[in-house]
């Protein structure tokens, strides 16, 4: 079933949102039963446990112990490390600060933070290229949650025009393969209000 997407401006710290996720962070998946599942990594584990078992060969968290460790390691890599070193800076400085009041931390972007993110993203592209030089997908032979997490973060950075696509051709090929999948369409059609994406953002040939 398609989820209904709802925007949450976390810096407003709405009380009814904090009741759903006391940490005040997104994403949160809310089931029809009311169960709230906070955080992309926890949502991945939850979807695997509630829907994944029926998918056999297309399961996004693989079955063997060592492969599960590798998927989770790379989920953490992109959801925590890449976010802390790249996406967090760029999205805060270029997007969130436009919508925040000055009391909430709004204002002009901090160019030092943007420069740090642009330097950091280069070594992450090299790491993706290194992984893809020996694997079919980020965590091994099959598409997993690790590919989706990596692509989701890269897509945010690409929207802002800050992915150095010339850095690593192998990384670029992997992203092109993912971007062409039907499941990626909804993401590529999504827009930040009042802010156009980089020209090539939704092109499958970039």
């Amino acid at each position: 079933m398609e989820p209904a997407l709802v925007e949450e401006r976390v810096w407003d710290r709405r009380e009814s949102f904090l009741l759903i996720n006391p940490a005040g962070t997104t994403p949160v998946l809310v089931e029809e039963t009311g169960l709230a599942i906070p955080g992309a990594g926890i949502i991945a584990e939850y979807l695997d446990e509630t829907r994944g078992l029926g998918l056999t060969g297309r399961r996004l968290l693989p079955e063997t112990t060592a492969q599960r460790v590798e998927v989770r390691r790379l989920l953490d890599w992109f959801l925590v490390k890449f976010d802390a070193e790249v996406t967090g800076y760029l999205v805060t400085e270029k997007i969130s600060k436009r919508f925040m009041t000055s009391a909430n931390g709004g204002g002009p972007p901090d160019m030092n933070a943007i420069r740090a993110a642009r330097a950091n993203v280069r070594y992450h592209m090299k790491y993706i290229g290194y992984l893809m030089s020996r694997r079919k997908w980020i965590a091994g032979d099959h598409l997993t949650y690790a590919d989706l997490a990596a692509a989701a973060h890269l897509s945010c950075v690409d929207y802002l025009g800050d992915v150095p696509w010339d850095e690593d051709e192998t990384a670029r090929d992997w992203y092109a393969r993912l971007k062409s999948r039907p499941s990626f369409r909804m993401l590529l059609a999504d827009r930040v209000p009042g802010m156009a994406p980089a020209d090539h953002y939704a092109d499958l040939d970039f």
Copy 2:
């Protein structure tokens, strides 16, 4: 089986350690087979999958979907949020910087970072107190990985003398119960070289 503890000074970025965990972070569990499992949350999932099924009533990651979400939510709370807001600052400023060269970021502690951590820890104590006012353990009726993660972080902060134990009596009672368990002894006996813990650190009655 008891694990053998090995200290790793992550700021040295030893090549043989980066081969085990490219993210360069601790903890890492290394199995006798050579399989390396990086990160406390991933280690918890791994131990549950490889040893937890046999523990039935004493399993540290419970079996029902909603309880698993709650344990993972709180694991993230302490391993990521509490670490970013409290433990990370204190351990870096008060401990790691003593052992780092100045090129690695060593030097005197940044008192602003320490003050921020001391302010932040108060609302975390209140949150633990709030949870414990309606539950037997942090995530529900049973002891889980969430209790261990919370206690491990509090123990680091307590070693440094920075837990405001007067802030919330319910939180203090929960920690006293955990601290009295035999499995906690090894942790309480551990020492940072050249740095004594706070006076009450290993007391079961504090």
